[in-house]
């Protein structure tokens, strides 16, 4: 039982990271029906942005977790948001009315450009880089289950951000504009909503959340690499589809389910650690067979 709870905590931490990244996929899909395959790389850039700032911080500040962590997170957000805005403006907006496949393929191209750009231009990024321990070290034990402070911070930050996002989308004026654009962009435009602005805001929110996930993940695992975004992006995309892409609650739930399935596979299935990714995708396929719209998705009439 202790072992089960220990693995459950591991799964929740992993799931919180997946959930944070998945929000960016699901919001962008909800609004412009684009699967932004470059989103995983925005997550990776967040970690690199944080790392870059850390390296120029004065030594006295590097050790102060309460100063260094927020500063590095802000730097990560700044880099991710900047790249996401440029990406939307240059790569996706010109293709807004193109057939669906064109922006999808473009997204894959953008992803490769970000990865290779990082590999070539970030000093030392050709090899895995050490990420500084921005999170408090140590931990505590509850009933035999060890919880590190780092994991606790990751989960708390993720949950707070998820609730804040939900409140923003449901309560604020911009949030209402986002929902209107998602439902029917043409009518939203007629109602005086600047849909281009709404779409940019969506990209900014998604990138900021991914950047936070990137910095936290780097600090927790202690390493970053230029191609970290690929697998993380794939997993987060799976989480988004699992929960019902376009649905914020579903995507958070999908992230946690995926994280928990992965660690439970490691614990209870034969050779589970080697095949944990396989089990994650098996769950996805099963859900899609029985609920093609995902766990929380609604039937959507396809727009012309």
């Amino acid at each position: 039982m202790t072992q089960f709870l220990q693995q459950l905590t591991n799964g929740v931490v992993l799931g919180a990271t997946y959930g944070l990244i998945a929000l960016g996929y699901t919001m962008v899909y909800g609004i412009i029906q684009l699967i932004n395959f470059a989103h995983g790389d925005i997550f990776m850039l967040g970690a690199f942005g944080g790392l870059a700032l850390y390296n120029v911080l004065p030594h006295g500040m590097q050790d102060q977790v309460l100063i260094a962590l927020p500063l590095c997170t802000l730097a990560g957000i700044a880099l991710s948001v900047a790249v996401a805005v440029v990406m939307e403006r240059v790569a996706y907006r010109p293709l807004r009315n193109a057939p669906r496949l064109a922006p999808l393929i473009t997204a894959i191209g953008v992803s490769a450009m970000i990865e290779e750009g990082t590999r070539l231009w970030y000093p030392g990024a050709k090899a895995p880089l050490t990420f500084p321990p921005l999170l408090p070290s140590g931990g505590f034990t509850v009933g035999g289950v060890r919880i590190s402070y780092a994991s606790l911070v990751v989960v708390i930050v993720a949950v707070v951000l998820m609730i804040a996002l939900q409140a923003f989308v449901l309560r604020s004026r911009t949030g209402r504009a986002m929902r209107a654009t998602a439902q029917d962009p043409d009518t939203a435009k007629l109602m005086g909503i600047n849909t281009d602005r709404v779409i940019v805001i969506t990209f900014i929110l998604g990138a900021a959340l991914a950047a936070v996930a990137g910095v936290l993940n780097g600090a927790r695992l202690g390493t970053v690499q230029f191609n970290d975004g690929f697998v993380a992006g794939l997993k987060a995309f799976t989480a988004a589809v699992l929960g019902g892409i376009g649905n914020i609650t579903g995507c958070v739930a999908g992230g946690f389910i995926l994280g928990i399935v992965e660690v439970m596979a490691v614990q209870y299935l034969p050779n589970g650690s080697g095949y944990k990714d396989l089990w994650a995708f098996v769950v996805l396929i099963l859900v899609l067979v029985f609920r093609p719209t995902g766990l929380f998705g609604e039937e959507v009439t396809v727009r012309a």
Partner: protein
Amino acid sequence: MRNRYVVRAAIPAIIGVIAVTGCGSNKSSGGGSGSSGSHTVVIGLSAPLTGPLSALGLGMKNSVDLAVKQANQANKVKGWTIKFDPQDDQGDANVGGQVAARLASESNLVGVVGTLNSSVAQQEQKAYNDQNIVMISPANTNPMLTQGPNFATGNKVRPYKSYFRVATTDAIQGPFAAQYLKSQGITKVATVNDQKTYGAGLVQQFEKQWKSQGGTITSHQTINPGDKDFSGVISKIKPTGAQALYYGGEYPEAGPLSKQMKAAGLNIPLMGGDGIYDPTYIKLAGPKSEGDLATSVGAPTDQLSSAQAFVSAYKAAGYKEDFSAYGAYSYDAANVIIDALAKVLPGKSSIDSSVRQAIVAAVQQTDMNGVTGHVSFDQYGDTTNKVLTVYKVKGGAWVPVKTDTFNS
């Protein structure tokens, strides 16, 4: 119309992306200038020059470059200039296949030093063997490469007669590690491997020896190359009471694994093979990696009296990167090829199939005192030098703790 225009503009962009990502580097640095030979012969290199394993690959490249420059300066191969053509295989078996196809089609190429990874070598062996091009690896340790897929059952068959290596195999490295751990009073070990040719083979050989000497394997886990979060595996191993963890794989995963183990309260040493024996491992694993262990082939380069000349020449040449774990072996591998060229090429005016066959035969007969010790090959193309060393992380660096010749 507007959209069609955009798509048309996007196509060159996409092709550009593919060109950047897909084809590796075609840069060839002319390693051999300043010599008087009228004919040119080419020695290639296949190693990861970019990517996570580049620290090892660049050390290999520089060391071969040094050997080639010295040979040209001393005019070792009369009448011929040696040119060096290093290629980046990115440590990826698919890229390795492309590198091999490219190198094997060069008409003046007679030998290749490489690869670093056993899985990449598997993709390249045949292409060179078909053209009678010598391939000498300074680092491949999987027994299959020289002794065929059924080596474990005693049915040893050499698959490619042009493939040689100056590194010992995992059939020796794994058991050597098992003997060392036992001598430290450890009886219970958990193993983790990355499911690649090298990692899985190393762990298999380790476990065989470990069980035969009465040790217990408390847990046998696998991970995927590229994994970052090992919390599941660590939580599973922790309650089994393992006193050490034996890891089959390379430092990009081993470093974070060690760091996360200790952060999760699993304070046991991680031991690995030559794939983790690199300074980058210690950087990734952090200060708590003190006491972690690795085996590597041969004796420590800077403690070998025979290697002093190499170490000082390497420093004098001013290479930016360290010669790393396989530098001295790469240097020897290159010199094995150069020695064979010196025997075969003088008096010849071009490279053809019979010349290449003569070079392969000359390499097989190698009997040379290299910087890593005496170099010669057995009937499988394996080195007869079976010296290994155990290293320990002490004060943030790998320190040799035991050098020995393996006896089963």
